[in-house]
């Protein structure tokens, strides 16, 4: 049974997966920094200002659980690899279309030198007006799968080493007061033959943790993932469904008493969904999952969209949710208690 956390949220809490488009001026400041024309302090101030701006944008759109938009992160694996000793970068590789990431290579024993995202969390907590904020951390399996391994004798050994590091980071976040951490594991189902040990390794990050832990898995084989819903020690699965036109919803029958973070807007399409489309999708998922166990989010991080489209998608998402909330309000259902 999931334990209640003494925090009240509106029914169908709305959240984001994590990333959000960087403001144009921030991109400019980063370019200036790279060219040596502004100093580190000015860059950090720009990041802080950008977080203030995008948190406000999320809250204005009606998001109940905002993130800091991952303003300080160029990329989800790269950011952690830059802060864990033992990685090296050879250059970018393409991920899809004309989108690249700086794929790291593990060239030495990995060492957790100091906290990675605590400062991010502390700043987000300070600027958000919401009772709960979300902190995202890339999971050990995905960091390993999206890196070249030149050092460890096996991928399994590498994942376990990373899991220890991520676990330390989550424990630090808990100590700092974080209430909701989402571990991003988009690669988790990529190698079905590795799932058994991968699930065990990913569970290592949850050891001794007493806050809400979600896991985000996207663009993946959910048939495979759903077989491990009960084995993964996370209370919430944030999954992408709009991109797949809400096919595969049947896998949610295997959720047990866990929650779904239901992806209702497609982050790889610039078409802005209508509130009615969002509401319709929620009605569909409510046929399978109890409404108390549904959170609403975009499919994935919004960062690759133009900022105005990302904002419009969040607004539409919240308007769609509000249609259903109104229907539920008439039935006397308005709040949930957050569970860990």
């Amino acid at each position: 049974m999931l334990k209640e956390m003494n925090i009240e949220l509106p029914i169908l809490p709305t959240t984001v997966i994590g990333s959000y488009p960087r403001p144009k001026w921030l991109r400019h400041m980063i370019r200036l920094y790279k060219a040596g024309r502004i100093d580190e302090k000015t860059l950090q101030e720009s990041f802080d200002d950008a977080v203030i701006a995008v948190v406000k944008e999320q809250e204005d759109a009606g998001i109940d659980i905002p993130s800091d938009g991952e303003m300080r992160r160029d990329e989800m694996v790269e950011y952690f690899a830059q802060r864990i000793k033992g990685f090296r970068f050879y250059g970018p590789v393409r991920v899809w279309g004309n989108n690249f990431f700086n794929k790291p290579a593990v060239v030495d024993k990995l060492v957790y030198e100091k906290p990675i995202v605590i400062d991010e969390y502390m700043f987000l907590r300070k600027v958000s007006r919401r009772p709960v904020v979300k902190v995202t951390i890339t999971g050990p399996y995905t960091i390993a799968d999206w890196s070249f391994n030149e050092y460890y004798s096996s991928k399994q050994e590498l994942v376990y080493e990373l899991a220890k590091i991520i676990n330390r980071e989550i424990l630090e976040l808990e100590k700092a007061g974080a209430k909701f951490v989402q571990v991003d594991e988009p690669a988790l189902t990529t190698h079905p033959e590795e799932m058994e040990w991968a699930v065990e390794a990913v569970n290592e990050v949850t050891k001794g943790v007493n806050i809400k832990l979600g896991i985000h898995v996207c663009y993946s084989n959910y048939e495979i993932l759903s077989k491990y819903f009960d084995k993964l020690n996370f209370s919430q699965f944030a999954l992408e469904f709009a991109n797949r036109s809400f096919r595969d919803l049947h896998i949610l029958k295997r959720l047990g008493d866990k929650e779904i973070g239901f992806g209702v807007v497609d982050v790889h399409s610039r078409r802005i969904e209508t509130p009615e489309e969002v509401a319709q999708a929620i009605r569909k998922v409510m046929e399978i999952v109890d409404v108390e166990r549904i959170y609403i989010n975009p499919d994935c991080g919004l960062k690759l969209l133009p900022r105005e489209i990302a904002k419009a998608k969040m607004e539409v998402m919240v308007r769609g949710v509000n249609i259903i909330r109104e229907e539920l309000r008439r039935k006397g259902v308005e709040k949930i208690i957050m569970r860990r």
Partner: protein
């Protein structure tokens, strides 16, 4: 046994090309300006690789976003959301066959011929391949909707007839002597190569040069064996992935016992760790001893080099060139 080195598939896009594409998508440069960059990229790649005397290379597939795009657009087929390309952190737009393929002109070979002409490399056309998805891989990674096709076999056949044969015919006429039909699907356990043998033979009838079938992201012994046997008297050569998994040399001998030529992917395109020359030499020596029936052995990488950062990809090409 004659030993040669070859390159195939997609290469990493340079920063220059990536930047040009971004600028094109945000309407800051024209299509003509983008084409110019594509051609510079192609020229750089061809000049570099052919200096090393590779038996054959590909065009680097710089114009391709993934194995199915822009081909889907040329076939007048819409694409779906993003889908993971096998077990990689690489995603493609999935073709959705709501209607039958309409492929009026052999666009792929036409564009490449034009590019080669404009960069003054037409004289090398016979060492450069045309790249296309193989039928097994196309159908496995597409969706069939409505009454467009009654089965995956129906789609595979239509794809071969309307696209591959048209491209093969035109390619040969233009001077190409190599066609690659990428078939990563045949490395998976989900598919039987038997279903596609007639289709490969059909392409073979149309194209008198070399037809290469790169099978990567693993090794399916059953499929390799049956293809090696059934296609032994054709101009079709399999390229197999020997870097993803350790393949027992006896198994390899058994699977390839009927074929006279094979491409072996020894260089790992999915890891930055550089292979040792001594290791390659030793492996090749073992292959020479074990695969006594093989007359032509082509050394290569195990999958597209674009899974590597550009500078590592070029380093691995230089490594492979030591065996040309």
């Amino acid at each position: 046994m004659k030993i040669m080195s070859i390159l195939y598939g997609s290469m990493p896009r340079s920063r220059r090309l990536a930047r040009a594409l971004s600028r094109y998508y945000s309407q800051k440069i024209s299509l003509e300006a983008l084409d110019e960059i594509y051609r510079k990229e192609l020229k750089r790649y061809i000049d570099f690789t052919l200096t090393y005397n590779f038996f054959r290379i590909s065009d680097g597939m710089f114009r391709w976003d993934d194995l199915f795009n822009p081909l889907a657009e040329y076939m007048k087929i819409p694409v779906n959301g993003l889908k993971r390309f096998y077990d990689n952190n690489f995603f493609f737009r999935q073709p959705v066959f709501k209607e039958k393929i309409r492929y009026e002109t052999p666009v792929i070979s036409e564009i490449l011929t034009k590019d080669l002409k404009l960069i003054g490399s037409l004289d090398r056309i016979n060492r450069i391949s045309i790249s296309l998805p193989g039928p097994a891989t196309l159908v496995a990674n597409s969706l069939i909707e409505g009454s467009s096709y009654t089965s995956t076999n129906d789609l595979a056949r239509d794809y071969i007839e309307k696209v591959v044969l048209k491209e093969a015919e035109n390619a040969y006429k233009q001077g190409f002597r190599h066609i690659d039909l990428h078939e990563p699907e045949l490395a998976s356990e989900n598919v039987k190569a038997d279903d596609y043998i007639d289709l490969y033979k059909r392409v073979s009838e149309y194209f008198r040069g070399f037809i290469w079938i790169p099978i990567y992201f693993g090794y399916n012994s059953r499929n390799i064996k049956i293809l090696a046997e059934e296609l032994r008297d054709t101009n079709i050569i399999l390229i197999i992935d020997l870097a993803t998994k350790n393949i027992d040399i006896e198994k390899l001998r058994n699977d390839l016992s009927k074929t006279k030529a094979v491409g072996v992917g020894l260089i790992n395109s999915r890891n930055t760790k550089m292979e040792k020359i001594a290791y390659i030499r030793e492996y090749v020596a073992t292959l020479e001893k074990t695969l006594s029936n093989i007359e032509d052995l082509y050394l290569t990488h195990n999958t597209n080099l674009e899974f590597l950062p550009e500078k590592v990809a070029y380093k691995k090409i230089r490594l492979l060139s030591k065996f040309t």
